[in-house]
Symmetry: C2
Subunit: 340 residues, 2 copies
Amino acid sequence: MSLEAAEPLPRKRRGRATIYDIAQRAGVNPSTVSRALTRPGRVSEETEARIMQAAKELGYRANPAARALPTGRTRTLALLVADITNPVVFDIIRGAERSAAAGGYTLVIAESQESGTEESSVLDRLLPAVDGFVLAMSRLDDEAIREVASTSPVVLVNRRVDCVESLVPAFEAGIAELVAHLADLGHRRIAYLDGPAQSWTSARRWEAIRDAAAERGIEAVEIGPGEPTLDGGAAQLGAVLESEATAAVAYNDVMAIGLLRAATAAGIAVPGRLSVAGFDDIFGADFTTPQLTTVKAPLTELGEQAVRALQAIVADEEPERHEPLPSTLIVRGSTGAPAR
Amino acid sequence: MSLEAAEPLPRKRRGRATIYDIAQRAGVNPSTVSRALTRPGRVSEETEARIMQAAKELGYRANPAARALPTGRTRTLALLVADITNPVVFDIIRGAERSAAAGGYTLVIAESQESGTEESSVLDRLLPAVDGFVLAMSRLDDEAIREVASTSPVVLVNRRVDCVESLVPAFEAGIAELVAHLADLGHRRIAYLDGPAQSWTSARRWEAIRDAAAERGIEAVEIGPGEPTLDGGAAQLGAVLESEATAAVAYNDVMAIGLLRAATAAGIAVPGRLSVAGFDDIFGADFTTPQLTTVKAPLTELGEQAVRALQAIVADEEPERHEPLPSTLIVRGSTGAPAR
DNA sequence: TTGTACGCGTTATCAA
DNA sequence: TTGATAACGCGTACAA
């Protein structure tokens, strides 16, 4: 080594300490440091203490990329949603983030913009970067989902596909409560506002409502499909009135609120002339006048459990099995006795 | 190698193709493949075509961890928020995610749970995993933020700190509009409901309201600080009434909605006896009756621009400078002429 | 219990 | 223009 010219500083030294620095300071071999850091107990107490001390003094942080290379695990999980705009996913994100952080995992959020092909490409892009996926509101068909699941750990939320870990709340209970509530109020004909045609959830909700209504001996009619938006809900007001139903249940709260507002704007009293109910109990469902009656989905818990289950699968453990999360009826002001 | 017992399948072969596979198939050296893939043009057209072809056939996806190791860049950006629960951040997340995806970056969301020390620890944990941070609603003090910024690229949202890239919308214009709107309606005394004591934004908003009021020759009084929640807003109803202000502007929409509901519940007509306005125009601000008048912050655009600026800084380019994003008054039903 | 040596997939620095 | 070859930081058989 001879003369060195004054190089321009190599850009803000990436001055992070490595296990080599620790090794040197603690007077041991780097591999010993690695052992002490990854699973304490494999080295003598004394050296472990020295190593930990040195690590702390140097402010050591493991380099995740370097760690991922030999192990193949990135300790990163991805949450895929169809539409970040959708308030339903906010709560799922919240739960997912919390349990990822609790497990020492990093959570990546990605959006498929309601498009199946976009979803595939996102999945593909993220595949080498993460240890697994939580698919919330996937727009892929069952076969495509199974294929993803055969490549990488996957947990499905709000949908059931054979051979894939799925997390679906037991909304039947909440729906039964809702239908009973409406029947008790005196309603004899309930309209269900369908969500998007491809929505697995919407189809299940309709079936459950139909069954619950049949059991109660009242009528249920299906209207739609429609966009799961304020406008999508508002757009169905005419159809609801034509159906002569006295109560309308929408695929989700956003549609329900759209319908509620359209009704109010049209001079139709809620719940006086029309009762309205939704699903999910999203943020803002209690902002309306009257406040919205809704079947609350345990969204935050769903996000939490999904990520926990995914962590288990990634770690090659059996995910805990619990009872499906219950959905519950929240009665607020938008449902009441029908006009007669 | 002698006899091998029937091992359980070596767990779903991590069968991803590498540049070595491509190299072999294309009959070139791995380093050539790397060149062709990272910045086309450094190899002959012919071999580049062969390499691309082989890559496509093998379904090659670069391994981000392996790529990050020598380069030190992960092509991952972090968005830190104080509270995922806060609807304001939903829109920021949305914008951030979109421009991250557009730039080929992966976005990590992390939450500091309204705690400065938690924020530091999250920052610290994420530091080696990302190329930079967007800090939205940081709870750190200026000095701490500068220190982070000296270690890693940082873009600040909704706050200004010397020497750190900051993105703050020009809410003065919207506030001036709001105050003018109220003054024109006949209000002579406006109450401002402060947010959290440490909130940089809340302090700026109060100053702007005070100044705008002074300019209009009307009074402004400060109430609080308070929690930026529904309850936090509701809790101030008494103080608002005592202040004898005829209009109340809250630090944000959530507080405003809390106040609005508390007023309505207490039989105080909005806007008949009390006008209420908020900030941000969050999801649900138009669910209330009356709908909430508010100063709309360009949250989605803020998230977008923040991530774009961060990408520029990471790439060692000068971030684009635009005019600060404008905030605008959205007049809805919750403001009206004061009772006399 | 600890050290040696190699590999993970890629980029980058040399030569050729 | 391309091919060797050395990092990058860490985990881990294997040997001591």
